[in-house]
Symmetry: C3
Subunit: 136 residues, 3 copies
Amino acid sequence: MEQGALIIETAGRELLDITARITVWLASARLVRGTLSVYCRHTSAGLLISENADPAVLRDLRRWLDRLAPETAGYEHDDEGPDDMPAHIKAMLTGGALTIPFAGNRLLLGTWQAIYLAEHRARSHRREIVLTGIGE
Amino acid sequence: MEQGALIIETAGRELLDITARITVWLASARLVRGTLSVYCRHTSAGLLISENADPAVLRDLRRWLDRLAPETAGYEHDDEGPDDMPAHIKAMLTGGALTIPFAGNRLLLGTWQAIYLAEHRARSHRREIVLTGIGE
Amino acid sequence: MEQGALIIETAGRELLDITARITVWLASARLVRGTLSVYCRHTSAGLLISENADPAVLRDLRRWLDRLAPETAGYEHDDEGPDDMPAHIKAMLTGGALTIPFAGNRLLLGTWQAIYLAEHRARSHRREIVLTGIGE
């Protein structure tokens, strides 16, 4: 078992590809085969796996999420700005905990898959991702 | 490895903070570091991680889910009451399986994170949550 | 630890119950107790757990997803057909990675739970699911 963390500075509102950083961490862990838990310690940012080939997919995903959880929906919780409650909703939808298998010290992602840190707040944030590799 | 279960009586339609009950279970397990799988054995209740500071966040999340999956949407499956199919939809959206890292025998939740059992049915239910700690 | 894969031919647009295939794989693994990671290596198909009793539930889930992510929503990414971007959205919503506990070499699914491979593309596809059992 190996455990560590990534600290990631996000720009506001983005889907940030963190696959390479996770891959580097896994390569440094002495594990060949098992599962990697990727965990986001925040409630207004999340994690998701999506297509890494056409950036238009990411723009469509973000526009769709923005329509589904708009800023102007009369939320009761609005102390932290109009982008805060939509961020909590989006984080609930995509979740912030992934478990991904690996073998040969490499993640078994599909050809078109990448791991994204979803920053749902308007401004940049410092986000902490906990990585736990379990296996042999 | 340690495995156990929590039995939780829910009131109808609520997001119930079960963090303390999970923390107590983990403290009794002889594991220092690893991942905890939290699994809900039901299809009309789920699990989610969200903000624990302002209860208005939870009310906003519930209202938003209610609008997204309303009771009056002409569902084909309506034998078990108008709240049943929306409950299945909400459980699909948030999921019912979480994997959370721990170290020093404590969950590595973020400062503002809590684990909620989402009861989506209108009436109270007895829900079973399986806990599996894997690590060392 | 045991790791393997299932190759599953889907028909287009379906929620395919893959519980039996996973159960057979687990039975062949030499593990009594632990967690099973089920991972879908695709971004236009996903995994979900839902009710296995009334097929109308599955039809309602699919109709609801179709309304939430319709084909005619003016997506920027449309090179691969009108069903592609809705498929990515649906895969983001339900996710493609599940962790399920097992004991006595059997999955601890609830009475009414089954594991579904959600094929969101219109045409049939060959999908790969990675299974990793961790435990003792």
